[in-house]
Symmetry: D2
Subunit: 345 residues, 4 copies
């Protein structure tokens, strides 16, 4: 069993990491920190873990966490992550960072969308942790930037099509909706059941921080700058993202060409599931699993392609992908601990 | 009190009609039919109406319903409606038809999307019942075609902008999501709580029957044929539609121009609510009310306009709008019985 | 229009009061206070009220609120209420207090369950505001203590039966469940959608503050001290309370005797609805209405009576009942503004 | 891998069995039948299983199913099960029956609550499959009657206390609530999202078929006839049962005595989790897991014990327990494939 630790384990990505590690055949959780719950038993905060995660939350000292672990998951807000990562690396542990701090290759872009970057020198060695696209680099990395949840759904749908030149890089629109756990476990008014339940609305409509991250990877795939129109919405469910993406097909491209492209790109990939004709992704069918469901339809009136991608924002959209990256970085089977199916209904 | 009747009262639009009529100061329900529940007391089927709607469900004979009423709401499936409407009109009652049978002005289009039309001669006199656009015609009509739920959300947002030439009629996309009551009260597997709850998915992605209805009215507004890309989704909530619409602004049009256009077009309209800058529509804020909330944002990267429209699919999207039409047709105050606010949370 | 004001309008009982007052034919809201949102427009906090409640939240000075109003609803936490009520009364306005501060007739009991009482001299003139039991006293009162939400559900079911001697005052059990709005609109971790949704659990199992309030009124009804076993649970819904009550019938009492007793006690009461045999209360059927649904079943094996009472915790359980009390205190029709039916589905 | 089959795989217990078997290290699904979906691929009906359960649904011939399997799970309605079980046993396969057909030891009681029994001669060899109480018998059985979902929650809480004489066998009350999947996957009006969501109500209040099953096992535990008052309620969630049980403690019994009794009775049991003082069961914390959470509180006013038990009605309440039984019957580790933790949030 390989010892791993978590910096910041009291949020929803934290408890999801603990759930996955507790069921993992090759990883052992040695420590988990929380400023809010330091000193309390994990299982008193997260009753579902009772009897399986018997640690108390520790203080958030990165070096201490790193000392007993070969890899540390940093599941803290951006800025907090970059303040801790250098010490963890210096202590000899690898890092999968679930924040946004090392996702953008261009420090100016980061600073435009987020805040000043305090360790830009690490950006070069950070690997963007979408294993289906960067598997070899992830294996060799000591610092992996785990992708954003919305971003993963959009990239999995579009990257192969842009690489293969099936769709135009112009005019792409991603209309996405996420369950509420994507917004974290903070005690905020707008996340109350009374506000979210039986409700649906858009937010961050003039610019969401996942946009530059999508554009970075889409541009690399297209070999040219891509500008994306992105609209996130808040769903009255706990987990799940569905992205509905509108793209202009290039000459002669039909539904089957898209499906074939995906099947080729994702042949042998256990987590990416292009669906058969006639089926459509559903967040419930991937809930708690590390899967992405994909489908395509062509609008017979406008000729526009509609691409659909569903994933669980806490699993393939965050902690599941983080474990997938950790598996690669630690020489374990990539699927270890990640073959769980969605609990339906 | 003006006597009205309902043909087909056991569905969700039916119970919403009964709720609104029971609270209405000028309408009195004289009869309501149901094939499924004929002979049973309405209040045993819909406990919320106990003590306020004390009728039994009757048989679905249109002439009988019409005999005691000045207006009949037909809340039955398409085809069933057109089979009943001529007899109701012949009996001297007016009709607000909540089905699709009289919405499309072109019988060929109807037959392409639905089925053979058995009384095309009535299409000429049928008025499209979106009172904010066709108020005078509705007042004079004896047959009003009540618009589709998705359609209302899209038209309210786009029609004034197309009329004013603020957005291009090319490339319009409507990405919409509806609560489950929009699919009716049939005992269908895909509408079970176990299938819908904690789920989100698209459906009818290659063509939904509301598309030609939208295109008909958008084309009239634009003065030129409009083709729309429309994608409906199913939300895990009972009521509510949110449409997120992407449109290309014409030269010089910004957010404020859109807002101004809406404010001018909807000045004095109690049910259409363009929101102040910084606010976004939320289905929960219109739940049970006859309102449409509108907002606009311009994407700073792509320059595309994002328009947002929220309504309750059973109220302004169906039965509330039907009562609004009936008020006009019967010479009542247009807002009578319709000023209820959303129940929040 | 009679001017009324609200002290503490930013919680869920506050917004429900505003909704009801906005639709009320005889009341006009002149001011509403909020510490948290002072200076902001009400409609920016509660979008559903846009265009209908155009006030800003004011400061929470009781005398100022009282100056322009004939009655003030105090919708603030206990202790805060008692600090404000004397000044409101001194300014000549009547008070309906939605907190617990004036519900318990015995100051020692209050202090045992809550905190020191700073104006016990007002307890004598405070009337317990359950109009179906204390209508005449409410009409004459200048201070009404609006009952607790769980309490109302239990009292409406049991008080007539205890008064009539149909059930034993010994061994009563109330097993109740409430939607989350009963816990208020505070930004608390345990009220997040992520914690409440798809969950069900008991809380406050060794003693909930509504217990002494129930026991006070049940004892008065029984003419002897009553001890009640009460267990509240948290439901994953916004609104609604269902109480399932277990009681020992006295000799010869059967289901019909209970139903008859209720029908006699509540003859002419528009808000209390004993259901016909075979029907059971459902929170959804009273959602947003001021109704209580009642039903009874006798367990054929144990002979125990099961009583069921459903209400909307924010309407008949709080703000609706408060308006009902205000109507009586101000000489308006008791049902004014309260005949709204539940929005179903 | 041991071959197993499922008779009746298109309901919610069926898909849960398939999920658990697909992730099981020692079981292999060889066939699954469905009258409704015969011939269709399982993964088109249950998208979550795509790529992991690649069988089509077969016809429901018991002998054919049994031919290729060492054990058959019968997940069909009562009566249908007893019609199939003899043929399966005759073909040499063992049976875990998820229906009620073999749960009641007394054929007259079965016939009183259900229907005529066509193979009463099998009742003697049927073992009641609650492994924590009947482990040795289950190991030796060829026919196991898998307990009811409500029943399991009540028995796990009460049996050790009755065996130890800590609570009175008189006056027991079980007030239970279940998520909607407990009612199956039939296309029924009362199971629609529009009916269940944002609703809470009791049902079957004068007698639910799980009552005699509870009484049978409680009587055995108490060594005397037990009559139980049982009230089921329908929760607006997919999965989860919480039972709140009221019991009279015998002299000197306090909370700690109950907790100690449970800890002794369930020492070493991985699935039964008595919680620490101060914690309460929550359906969300066991969702998708095979666990039962237990807690106790003593009402300080009435002295009554309140016992709380939460489980997932599809896992420990049905299919998880069925796999646990199968593991024992097939000589596998009892926990094989069942150590999954709840997916939270």
């Amino acid at each position: 069993m390989i010892p791993v630790a978590i910096l910041g384990g009291s949020g929803y990505t934290g408890v999801e990491l603990m759930r996955l590690i507790a069921m993992h055949p090759g990883l052992e959780l040695t420590a988990v920190s929380s400023r809010q719950f330091e000193g309390q038993k994990v299982s008193r905060v997260f009753g579902a873990l009772e009897g399986r995660v018997d640690l108390p939350f520790t203080s958030a000292d990165p070096a201490t966490l790193a000392a007993g672990a070969r890899l540390v998951f940093t599941a803290v807000p951006h800025q907090t992550a970059m303040a801790a990562v250098p010490a963890i690396l210096a202590a000899g542990a690898k890092v999968v960072d679930l924040s946004a701090d090392f996702r953008l290759r261009d420090v100016a872009t980061y600073q435009e969308w987020y805040a000043p970057h305090t360790c830009p020198e690490l950006l070069d060695q950070a690997v963007y942790g979408l294993p289906e696209f960067y598997r070899q680099q992830v294996k060799a990395a000591r610092l992996v930037a785990n992708p954003g949840c919305y971003v993963t759904s959009v990239l999995v749908a579009l990257v192969p099509l842009l690489r293969a030149g099936l769709v135009s890089p112009q005019g792409l629109i991603a209309d996405s909706a996420s369950g509420v756990s994507g917004a974290g476990r903070g005690a905020k008014l707008n996340l109350l059941h009374g506000e979210v339940h039986e409700n649906f609305k858009a937010y961050a409509v003039a610019g969401h921080r996942h946009t530059p991250e999508m554009e970075q990877e889409l541009s690399l795939a297209a070999g040219a700058p891509v500008r994306l129109t992105f609209t996130p919405h808040l769903l009255p469910l706990d987990r799940g993202i569905l992205s509905t993406i509108y793209a202009q097909p290039l000459a002669g491209v039909d539904e089957q060409a898209v499906r074939d492209c995906w099947r080729t790109a994702y042949a042998g990939e256990p987590f990416i599931r292009p669906l058969d004709k006639g089926l459509l992704p559903a967040t419930k069918e991937v809930r708690g699993s590390n899967r992405v469901q994909l489908a395509v339809a062509i609008d017979p009136r406008s000729g526009l392609l509609k691409l659909f991608a569903a994933l669980d924002n806490l699993t393939k959209g965050a902690s599941g992908q983080a474990v997938q990256n950790a598996n690669l970085m630690l020489g374990l089977a990539e699927t270890a601990g990640l073959m769980e199916l969605a609990v339906t209904p």
